[in-house]
């Protein structure tokens, strides 16, 4: 069994020097090593964007799909083989913009997926346009007079939709990130971790230093306290809280499916002799 973080690292990365993705990748490898999950028992689903390249740089099964579409195949996969750990890695544009509808409805569906959103508040791969989480006023080549619409607050949204696990971490706090990832992976149900991450090339506002000065760890005594969690998700500006704000398991997608009791679907033997009787109701 692989238990060293280095053994999960693979491929030659194509990220900018100083990118927050390096720390996220390292934290993920460490989390998987500490959880002792073998490579072949994990699938990472991703969409498109810098964050979505993760399946190429972590040695697990990987489904690098379409922009915004990382969650749907992850759900299909949960139905097919519930024994595999499923992680979704994608950026803020992918998860909250192009994939917004899937984000909303999979919170409702609550599949056992850990969703790690690399939130750098900007579009990196397309070179610097605003993302759904960009702060108002940020000027870009497209938002030439500055972002004029308020940002999407993913954690507040997820909480109001009934998500059972909501956390925020920061690529500059790797130990915290790793521990948060471990909890999210072990959480039975949809677990959202919004990971603050500087984009050294395109986000000149929300820099490493900007985040570092603001993040803090609030005391959270009760992870079932929805109102406290909501207050934490709404804090943004001079102080940005990190931590697992809310943790309360509920009925999962998998446990609501009769067909998923017992062996995973993929391993159930096919019994053709049970099939001919299907036509009896049509006589």
């Amino acid at each position: 069994m692989i238990c060293k973080a280095e053994d999960y690292l693979t491929g030659k990365t194509a990220w900018c020097p100083g990118c927050g993705n390096f720390a996220i990748r390292k934290a993920l490898a460490e989390a998987l090593a500490e959880l002792e999950i073998p490579s072949h028992e994990i699938i990472i689903f991703s969409g498109i964007g810098q964050a979505a390249k993760m399946p190429h740089y972590i040695k697990t099964n990987g489904f690098n799909g379409l922009h915004g579409r990382a969650l749907p195949p992850a759900v299909g996969s949960r139905a097919a083989n519930k024994e595999l750990k499923v992680i979704v890695e994608s950026g803020d544009g992918d998860s909250y913009g192009e994939g917004g509808n899937h984000f909303i409805h999979n919170i409702r569906r609550n599949p056992d997926i850990a969703h790690f959103v690399h939130n750098n508040q900007v579009y990196g791969l397309t070179k610097g346009q605003a993302s759904p989480t960009s702060d108002p006023g940020m000027q870009t080549g497209v938002q030439v007079t500055g972002v004029s619409i308020p940002p999407l607050n993913p954690l507040s949204l997820a909480l109001t939709m009934g998500s059972g696990f909501i956390a925020r971490s920061f690529s500059g706090e790797r130990e915290h990130l790793k521990e948060t990832m471990k909890e999210a992976i072990n959480f039975p149900g949809y677990a959202l971790v919004d990971i603050l991450q500087p984009c050294v090339s395109f986000n000149k506002v929300n820099t490493f230093g900007w985040y570092k000065q603001r993040v803090y760890y609030p005391e959270i005594e009760d992870h079932y306290d929805w109102n406290n969690a909501m207050a934490l998700t709404r804090q943004w500006g001079d102080r940005i809280p990190l931590g697992i704000f809310y943790k309360s398991p509920r009925m999962t997608f998998e446990s609501s499916q009769l067909a998923l009791e017992g062996e995973p679907l993929v391993r159930r033997p096919f019994d053709p002799s049970r099939m001919a009787s299907l036509q009896d109701e049509f006589y």
């Binding site: 690098n64 799909g65 579409r69 992850a74 299909g76 097919a80 083989n81 679907l265 993929v266 049509f282």
Partner: protein, 566 residues
Amino acid sequence: MELNLLIGGAAGQGMETIMNLLGKSLVREGFGIIYSKDYMSRVRGGHNFSRLRIAPGTPWSNVETVDILVALNEETYFLHRENLAPSARIIYDPQDFNLPEQESRGVPVELKSLAEEAGGKVMANTVAVGALLVLMGLETNTVESLLEDTFAGKEGAVEKNIAALQSGYDAAASYCSACFTLPPRNESGKKLFIDGNQVLGMSALASGCRFLSAYPMTPSTGVMNYLAAKSTDYPLVVEQAEDEVAAINMALGAAYTGVRSLTCTSGGGFSLMVEGLSLAGMTETPLVIIVAMRPGPATGFPTRTEQGDLNFVIHGGHGEFPRAVLSATSQEDAFYRLNKAFALADRYQTPVIFLSDQNFADTHRSVEPFDFSRLNYDLALAGEGEFEKPYKRYRASKNGVSPRILPGEHAGEVVLIDSDEHDEQGNITESAEVRRMMAEKRMRKLQGLAEEMDEPDLYGDPHPEVLLVGWGSNYGVLREAVDALSEAGTKTAMLHYSDIYPLPVQRLQELLGEVKKSYCVENNATGQLAGLIRRETGLQIGGLILKYDGRPFLPREIVEEVENDL
């Protein structure tokens, strides 16, 4: 010798209940039937009707003539009066409306009052069935046993319905008892009474499909309904997706992880799916998509039929990748053809589209029981020792197909698929050389698919002067047109495509030069199959017989077009 029934009324009046009860009992009694629906996109009101034809063997198509009309409202009578045979009979409720004085063919049956006497207005449909039975000279016992099956366990429901049935039977008997002669019964044993969507759902399940994700869209929803009903008893997950984009991507995730997966939709939903279709092609993930066509563009005619999406399903999706497009001649054929779609998807690791349409999806026929032992359920996976380690998902191969393993099933081996251009391992690449190699590898699979395609079905005169070319749900009506033209002295044959893309060309090339006249018969405005044939072979079909008013062809329409042209 044949008999044609038409039942019409407003949406919500229960025409379907009558037809299902009657259709199934006729099939149980050994009659060959076809029953199709013409309905509006509304839940209440409007004018909906169903036609049921009883003919020797099994009829292939409905016709316009009406021998027995059940008019659940006055409008039905006026809308269909012109097609009534001279000897026709009209069942109606005199408490609702009266027929014009000069109309002598009426059979008044107080459907609602009799139903109330039997125990409830809701059984008016059962009263109507009783009246129909006596007109056709049939006993009530088969319908009674069906009512027993249908209402088993519901207190008093069986008795009340049987009373309603009998009252309708008695009421109509005084006007016309056995005034129609039915065609001979089939001797060849039990038959099924089943519609196109049910056949496809059953075929999918029996093909080992274990995951369906879809967004409801008429006329494909019947497939979803069928499979959802089975998901409590079989190893099958049916998930209603938030949109068609999610539907196809979910199915791809399930397929990648190792179960046969399906999605179903109509043209508008398929528009949203084409991004995912392209992903299936690029990632080489097996997937079957049922596209049940309805008239477009945009929302079009939601509940009606067309064959307008052939070009779309052949060309939809960005970039170039291999795919197959299949359709079916009939309910019987569809059972095996959809299974073939699953087999091809797995064998060639690529998307396969099954083209249905409203005319096929909603039409019931009496069909032979299916032979389940003919079905393929082999995922065509590489076993231990049949792939090189470390595993490469996109390993180069002669036929373009790489050994496929499932994630999690082989310790130490991982499976990486990618929507970016990728190397053999599945890793993102920008190499020109790798790109060329991968593009060629993918497209080589199209050659294999081409060899798997069945040549079009040839029916009719072996040395025809007139050749009708068609595809999909027009098989039945073309067959009837061929028979009618042949009987009238024109040597006619038809060439019918079930496997459409890659287009099988041999039989057409052999035949087209031999005939005097050829026509492509299609339910669309542009002749899409004729265009495909021209693109693939350079051959020009002589003429186009097209219908694009949302209604299926009737045999007469094709026969007249040909005869006017000869």
